[in-house]
Symmetry: C2
Subunit: 127 residues, 2 copies
């Protein structure tokens, strides 16, 4: 299967699939005589795997680790869980941060009349 077929199957842009091949994350099974990337079933499954992992916000480095575990017969679920837990912690940290920003900004926006006058509690707060 050529790159556009693989991209479609994995639900990724062609550029992204090429990028993953460039950085050695998911390499095509082979190249055709003309130099075209050729994806087989295994490489296709890896592409989809990475696509879903990226959807969870795992970094490329984490995807690389997860992919390694995915292909490792002797992995332990503890190793996987540790990576996923780290991501979960990141998400929770980001959520707390966003919540604080949200509350503060919502308060300011609520206090601003939004009319034709120049007086503005938002600018007051920033200055």
């Amino acid at each position: 299967m050529n790159i556009s077929g693989a991209a479609k199957a994995a639900g990724l842009p062609v550029k992204t699939v090429r990028y993953y091949a460039d950085i050695g994350l998911v390499e095509p099974a082979a190249r055709t005589a003309a130099g075209y990337r050729d994806y087989d079933d295994t490489s296709l499954r890896k592409l989809s795997f990475v696509g879903r992992a990226r959807g969870f916000g795992f970094s490329i480095a984490q995807c690389r680790e997860l992919l390694g575990l995915y292909q490792d017969e002797h992995r332990t679920s503890a190793e996987v869980k540790q990576i996923a837990s780290a991501r979960l912690d990141d998400i929770r940290a980001k959520q707390r941060e966003l919540q604080a920003l949200h509350d503060e900004l919502e308060h300011l926006v609520g206090a601003c009349c939004g009319d034709e006058r120049p007086d503005c509690p938002i600018l007051d707060y920033l200055s």
Copy 2:
């Protein structure tokens, strides 16, 4: 005041202050004979303003707009409120996205034993 003093006063890294000068966001009031950036009271206030706005997650472009309004006698609070509301909408969208990721990933992590065996619902879900 030289750049390290200004950076300290605004609570920003020196590199960042230099960057803001480079992109014309907050320029120093003058240069000394030796070419050193020289910050006065006004430029210091702008630096702090931008630092706080960046803390809210406003983009550099939004900071530029806010700074323009801050210095504009004829601004309307509506203009400010519009920018802030846009940022608030962004935050809320990000929060919804993170919440969905959080719930799904928390569910998977909770279902993973995290022991020595290779069986893992997280990998199962990704593959």
